[in-house]
């Protein structure tokens, strides 16, 4: 049957070897490419590992101040154990999450694309604290973190360039630079303040992390 063009055993073997060689080459290139590109999820999980470790290392009643770098335009959010609207990823525990920015639905963003860690606390509050330069004596973040439920801190606002900026905001947003968080652990509660120089989406609207609740 050896007609011209027929595939025979004589020329099939080199063909098979060539195909296998191409597969290996593509695999090799793929591995190299994977290794040299930045894996964003690794950075996020690394940030969560760092926070989790530092929270664990704090003594009860102690305040810790830590530099931290998060991915630009990602939220740092926290939910208490029985808080409604928390992502399903948190299961039945309180949790800390880092999630892509989604002003319409921060909680949904965490569920679909975010990274979360369960914490062993009953109450978890994670807030953005707007630090106003030259007003440090009026507004003391160390005082606030130990008295976080005091309503007076939630109505305090500042006007700047025709926009109203709130002292505390529910959706801390990373700006990609090295930032600071203040962490306070007391009994079964955890409070975390991310210190900001400005609210990146200031103005009249405030971020609410549980939009659908």
């Amino acid at each position: 049957m050896d007609k011209r063009g027929d595939i025979t055993l004589e020329n099939a073997l080199p063909f098979i070897i060539a195909v296998l060689g191409l597969v290996l080459l593509m695999f090799f290139i793929g591995r190299i490419f994977f290794e040299v590109t930045v894996d964003g999820s690794q950075n996020v999980t690394r940030t969560l590992d760092s926070l989790e470790g530092k929270i664990g290392a704090l003594e009860d009643g102690e305040i810790g101040r830590f530099p931290i770098q998060g991915a630009e335009d990602w939220y740092l959010l926290g939910w208490s154990k029985t808080e409604e609207g928390r992502p399903d990823k948190c299961f039945f525990e309180s949790c800390l999450c880092i999630c892509p920015k989604n002003y319409e639905n921060p909680s949904g963003s965490c569920q679909s694309k975010g990274f979360c860690r369960e914490l062993g606390f009953e109450d978890v509050r994670v807030l953005d604290f707007l630090k106003i330069k030259n007003k440090e004596m009026l507004v003391n973040e160390f005082e606030i973190i130990r008295d976080i439920e005091n309503p007076k801190y939630y109505v305090r606002a500042f006007w700047a360039k025709d926009s109203r900026y709130y002292l505390l905001d529910e959706c801390p947003l990373f700006d990609g630079s090295l930032e600071e968080v203040l962490v306070y652990k007391k009994d079964d509660s955890l409070v975390m303040l991310k210190i900001s120089e400005k609210q990146l989406f200031g103005g009249e609207a405030r971020c609410t992390k549980n939009k659908d609740v």
Partner: protein, 349 residues
């Protein structure tokens, strides 16, 4: 042979080809491309970025991860106050002179960072300066390492750590020459003498006090991370001043050590706290290492005056006019201090 029959030689050939494929695939799959060490991956990415065509440069990320090192006394902890959750390399200090050991680790990390970044001669952020909106002389940085000292090392020991002196008096392992020689590519082996007249003319703005927070009743609040600084960041920066020659001239004018295109900032005294580069004026050009709030803690009692090593001149780059300054230094690992120097941080913290 009958039609359709496979001869034994072909059969063996196919089997060998498939087996060889599986062996090579298994090798490639199991090969740890990055434990061809993270340092090698960083070095490769630095070289790739610097030598990439201008248009491609911004697409090459720096795969440089900040190294975390914990220095602890025998029987001590693992620097949980600074590095909890970050899996640091723990180095147990066991010699007779712990302060010297700390200085050695710090000096080695500084030199290692300098070498890793191409001794300041590679153009790492050139095209990025447009992309990220950096203005002239605004630096971009890589934090090469963070060195934390565990609480088991006493404050008294920390206060005796003198990295500047260590770099002058000790040889780089295997080189037969001191660190100053290594940083200046053989230009000099010692720092320039301190000039008290120069120092007195230079305004001191830092605050030596510790940053102590108080509550509304005036009672001091104990805050971990503020009471005493036990963490040094080794930071590589690169910036583009209007005139690189002017930076070197100013460095010399204010007591720094200059050898060709390399320099060491003043080692000791108030001038040591400033690195000088300012856009647009013919006078001082300055990027100040801001000492914000608490000043330097115990680890930095000498490090507040730690010399920075640098280079100003032409960069290796695909851009024709690539020129600027690079620098490596150790500063407090605090957001305020780092951000004062680095509007842009690259690599992975």
């Amino acid at each position: 042979m009958k039609r359709g029959e496979i001869s034994s030689s072909y059969l063996i050939g196919i089997i060998l080809a498939v087996m060889g494929f599986l062996v090579v695939l298994g090798f490639l799959y199991g090969f740890d491309f990055l434990g061809f060490s993270e340092e090698e991956a960083c070095r490769l990415s630095v070289l790739t970025r610097a030598t990439s065509p201008e248009l491609a440069q911004s697409a090459v990320p720096l795969k440089c991860e900040t190294k975390k090192i914990c220095l602890t006394a025998r029987g001590g902890g693992d620097c949980s106050q600074n590095l909890a959750g970050e899996n640091p390399e723990v180095i147990k200090l066991s010699g007779d002179d712990i302060a010297k050991e700390i200085a050695k680790v710090s000096a080695d990390e500084m030199l290692n960072c300098w070498k890793l970044m191409g001794e300041g001669r590679l153009d790492l952020f050139g095209k990025f300066s447009d992309k990220v909106g950096l203005t002239t002389a605004q630096p971009a940085c890589v934090i090469c390492s963070r060195i934390a000292v565990d609480e088991s090392v006493s404050k008294d020991v920390l206060e005796r750590v003198d990295i500047n002196r260590y770099m002058r008096e000790n040889e780089v392992k295997g080189s037969g020459r001191n660190y100053i020689y290594a940083f200046t590519s053989g230009g000099v082996v010692s720092y320039a003498s301190r000039d008290l007249v120069t120092e007195s003319a230079f305004k001191e703005f830092s605050d030596d006090g510790e940053n102590r927070a108080k509550d509304v009743d005036g009672n001091e609040i104990v805050i971990r991370g503020d009471k005493e600084n036990r963490e040094l960041a080794i930071v590589f920066t690169q910036f583009i001043p209007p005139d690189t020659g002017e930076v070197l001239d100013n460095m010399l004018k204010f007591g720094g050590t200059v050898a060709g295109a390399t320099f060491l900032s003043p080692a000791g005294g108030p001038v040591a706290r400033f690195i000088v580069a300012n856009p647009g004026t013919s006078a001082l050009a300055a990027i100040a290492v801001a000492v914000v709030g608490g000043g330097y803690g115990y680890y930095n009692s000498y490090q507040g005056q730690l010399a920075a090593a640098g280079y100003c001149g032409k960069f290796t780059s695909n851009r024709e006019d690539a020129e600027g300054c690079s620098m490596v230094q150790g500063i407090n690992y605090r957001a305020e201090d780092i951000n004062a120097l680095c509007p842009q941080i690259q690599g992975r913290l």
